[in-house]
Subunit: 636 residues, 2 copies
């Protein structure tokens, strides 16, 4: 159980730092030319050779790497091989190891003791829910406040510059503010706790799969994650705060259930019975579910997420506890936010993200729309595959060349500044084409720019806003709000920005950017349909924005069951269940045909010994054949 | 795999019938005094003694039975012992048995063959969904039509008799019609296929647990079940059509996936690969989920039901297929019903039962209501325990004395007639107290009776209606609709009627009666709250009717996770998630303190070797101790 101080490879941070800590990490180690490193390299190569003899997922391009022999390995500065499993990870116990000590401990517990333990488990799950909810509130409120300050300052400056000239100063201001916020988050992640990078879902997936990823459930990681996600969302990056919520929930769960903290070096001497891999893993499942629940207001979705993405086991009592943690988490979030928003006790509001309820009269769909939905799913699957392929190449590039923390910080700041610039250019370019009157339900930061008085720039609704609000606007705004060109340009630019952003050394989720991209092209698709069939009531752009969002997200992350439920719960309407499911399934099938899901890609790139759900097809036959071979060997 | 013609004991039908079929069934065999039976008795007693040596769930009252020795067993006419496992059941294979034949078969399948198999699995699940949906439509439409005819005739007669006198003739007419319908269903069940009795959920639970319950997934069972449930619902019994839907789905699944029918003695030579226990069990899970989905419009609830109640395994792909079957089932039902109701293509309507959507402004709840909800849950748990205890005694009585099919039919007819009489007396007794003006949204059969013109008798809304509509009325009607006395009397009478009805030799579900009882006392509770705090907006009787319904159902069947989701989906609103979950959990905890859930009681009473989720607490310690004992034995 010793959680030894191994280096984490999640952030693709190299291991130049501390001396005396010899880690077998392969990814892009720049110190290969140091003499002390050579023996290790050799041993790796030997390890590599042993690996070759087994049949674990090796194919041709590993053979190329091996071609040069040991000398080639040393001479090539970077030896990266994503087909190899890293030695960096230990496995968690799948079940209690029933040794003498364990037996004696069990025997000492009375029957009442077991009931007390069961009650303690429920209590722990309750606390997991409460603290996850509180963290979600904290992130939500701080992001709202800071974004408010940022957008107010920039809007004031732009409004002033529009009249007096000097818009380039506004651009510089915007870009600098973004880069500044991003820098804070990036420094925290790159220098203090690399395990807090990204959404955290791949790490949690690995943890629940039985792989002990170092540092992933530490308190330090949680603190960096929370501060990091605040700064990257406020910094205007194409990121969401939902993925990190799931990771945060998992860390909280691990912390509470173990009753001690490695970061604080403090042992609270509580819940000592739960200090075993099996119990810890169960609680981490609950924490992840509570995170989903807080993020999307989707307790059932949270449970299914834990089961679909994580758990390699199934147990009724555990599932109830997970559900309990999820429910408490949503409840806490709702309660605190209702107090914060001044209507205490109104617990009907959903999670962090609120897609807005689709009203019953608008949500009807016809049977002939089913094939159209399937088309949307296929588009989502293809776009998702493109996204994943691009991000795969980018991540490979990052592993090879951008492994120093300072480079990572600079890249993150660059992305922040470029995001601001692209947004600004888009808004500026569209001022002549897409102005809308400020209606009865005004947006929060209506940028007038060069629009006539009483009107605002629509592109700014999408770009000059937190992504959650943009998604909601795309889902619910009336048919004429966005013009097709705005949507097309927005999709294109946001697609590349999001793709560039994922994998940076910042805390960032991929859910909201995916939804936003999908909602944009889905709405475009809906507008196209309503042009084709102008008199129809069914071609509602908002509905197709929802389908597009589901398709894009499904095409990128490839979940189906839990995602269907999450989206259904987040929209507060069960009517769209079947269409969303069909869309997600099509997206998955089409996407899987091209490339794996984004999380799986990142897991593979970190060489985690991840065990899939299904044995390879024909494995039965293989066993049979092996048995025959072995028998023959014996006979010979 | 030979599905030998063993007798089914589910209907508590005795095994006097066919000769040459020696079954080791213990329950109330009246032929014990025949000479040929004695050796079997003896062997049973031996079996019984062997059982005593093991530690499987035996307690004191078995010792009493044994006290008399073998002679006492023979002399006592009825030897019923619910602590003993029946020899009547075989087990299903948990996994494929990897023998030579299996290996050879697997080896012959190419890689493409495996993909084709996978596609076939999806196709089968699609068909399961379609046919389950169609069966649900059929039941729904036929029940609606027949109930329409019945209530129209009776209403006409009552209206006539109210003016001209002779209401007793109306009563006789009503009772006769009920008894007639019930007779048809009961004869089908008692004489043709006893496996179709009851809701079918305990049987499916056993099947998914790995116990091969004879006849339970036969086509004949399906036909009897469908006709039986139609006649018992139309016959006015306190039953629902939802439980049987779940059983129907399971039968359809077994039939389609195996590509043959034992009833028709026909082999369609399709899907021969799926003719193994593991595959069949997976498909039956899907069928049960599709049934839930069709019954409640709750596809996610269906999946969770399958997992919570049935599956002793968990597999991602299988879960997706189950979800797919559920979705298709709801879709088919909605599509056919939308065509039937004249607005084709409107797919937004939910399943068979529609609780009606709770509107957002009405559904708000405050944090201080949480303890009240928990109280409601506790009341539900207690009432559920009382219900289960009464039904347990009744079932014991039935097993001992009402085991001949003709007696069963007579009992069922009696219950039908008594139900009509009680309803009539209630309606008649309340005519002076509870009349309501017929508003803008009139009920379907407004019985005026002695009410003034333009008004109707409220008790008749609850009694003179199909139970589904009564539930909806209790959930949604405005505050003044029901007066407390009506609700109290209705609760009391329906409680005992439902308790008497469950376990009759008819196809019947317990979901709707439970919901109805709970909704009635929940509404009463809500009215009480609004009297205590007259100015409050939160004390909405409809909301408390929903909580009461959940509590009562939870107290009887003791599901939590799936039931929460089913109720949330059926009400179309996720806001009540947490309260419903708390209510169900409280009901389960309180109920479990007193007696087991109704399904578990009936499973135990049939002596099924059912394997629970959790090993008994301290089993680890037991293992440890046993090991020590064994070691000591060795040393000695």
């Amino acid at each position: 159980m010793a959680n030894v101080a191994k280096k984490v490879s999640w952030s693709s941070k190299d291991d130049e730092a501390r001396p005396g800590e010899s880690t077998p990490l392969l990814n892009g180690s720049p110190t290969a030319s140091q003499s002390g490193e050579v023996p290790r390299r050799f041993s790796q190569t030997n390890f590599f050779r042993i690996e070759r003899l087994t049949t674990v997922n090796l194919d041709d391009d590993t053979a190329q790497d091996q071609g040069g022999g040991p000398s080639a390995c040393v001479s090539k500065e970077i030896l990266h091989n994503e087909k190899l499993l890293s030695l960096n990870y230990e496995s968690l116990d799948y079940d209690n190891s029933e040794n003498q000590l364990f037996m004696e401990e069990e025997r000492r517990i009375s029957k009442i003791g077991f009931h007390v333990l069961e009650i303690k488990r429920w209590v722990v799950c309750g606390f997991i829910g409460i603290f996850t909810g509180l963290i979600a509130c904290f992130i939500d409120i701080v992001v709202e406040k800071l974004a408010d300050v940022k957008y107010s300052i920039i809007k004031k400056n732009i409004d002033k510059s529009t009249e007096g000239g000097g818009l380039s100063i506004s651009l510089v201001l915007w870009a600098t503010m973004n880069a500044g916020f991003v820098m804070i988050g990036s420094i925290l992640v790159a220098f203090i706790e690399p395990a807090a990078a990204g959404s955290g879902i791949p790490q949690i997936k690995c943890f629940l799969n039985g792989v002990k990823v170092p540092h992933v459930v530490r308190l330090k990681t949680l603190v960096v994650k929370v501060l990091g996600v605040i700064s990257s969302v406020v910094g205007g990056l194409a990121v969401g705060k939902e993925g990190p919520m799931i990771h945060s929930g998992a860390v909280i769960a691990a912390g509470i259930s173990q009753g001690r903290s490695s970061t604080l070096k403090k042992d609270f001497k509580i819940f000592e019975y739960f200090r075993r891999d099996t119990e810890k893993r169960d609680f981490v499942s609950a924490g992840a579910a509570a995170g989903v629940s807080a993020a999307f207001g989707a307790p059932v979705g949270g449970v299914l997420f834990s089961l679909e993405e994580g758990a390699s086991f199934w147990n009724q009592m555990m599932t109830w506890r997970i559900f309990f943690a999820s429910m408490i988490s949503t409840f806490t979030l709702n309660f605190v936010l209702s107090v914060y928003h001044g209507n205490p006790g109104d617990l009907s509001s959903p999670g962090l993200i609120n897609f807005g309820q689709f009203q019953s009269e608008a949500v009807q769909y016809n049977w002939f729309e089913i094939p159209i939905f399937i088309c949307v799913g296929a588009i989502g699957g293809m776009l998702g595959a493109v996204f994943n392929r691009l991000n795969y190449w980018l991540t490979m590039f990052r592993i090879r060349y951008i492994h120093r923390p300072c480079l990572q910080v600079i890249e993150a700041m660059l992305v922040g500044a470029v995001t601001a610039t692209v947004s600004f250019v888009m808004i500026y370019a569209m001022y002549a084409y897409d102005c809308q009157p400020i209606g009865e339900d005004p947006i929060k930061y209506p940028l007038q720019l060069f629009c006539p008085d009483g009107e605002y720039n629509t592109m700014a609704t999408a770009f000059f806003n937190t992504p959650e609000k943009s998604v909601r606007s795309l889902f619910h705004d009336s048919q004429g709000t966005y013009n097709p060109m705005t949507l097309g340009l927005f999709t294109l630019s946001y697609f590349f920005l999001a793709c560039w952003t994922y994998g940076l050394a910042v805390s960032s989720g991929i859910f909201i950017p995916s939804l936003l991209i999908g909602a944009a092209w889905g709405r475009l698709f809906g507008l196209f349909l309503s042009t084709v069939s102008p008199d129809s009531t069914w071609a509602d752009p908002g509905k197709y924005a929802l389908m597009g969002a589901a398709a894009q997200l499904g095409g990128i992350v490839r979940m189906t069951l839990s995602l269907t439920v999450i989206i259904v719960e987040a929209t507060g309407n069960v009517t769209y269940g079947l269409p969303i499911m069909l869309v997600l399934m099509t997206a998955k099938i089409v996407g899987d045909f091209c490339i794996e899901g984004l999380y799986d890609i990142h897991i593979k790139l970190q060489n985690v010994p991840f065990l899939g759900w299904e044995p390879p097809a024909k494995s039965h036959a293989l066993t049979a054949r092996l048995k025959v071979i072995m028998l023959e060997d014996c006979v010979d």
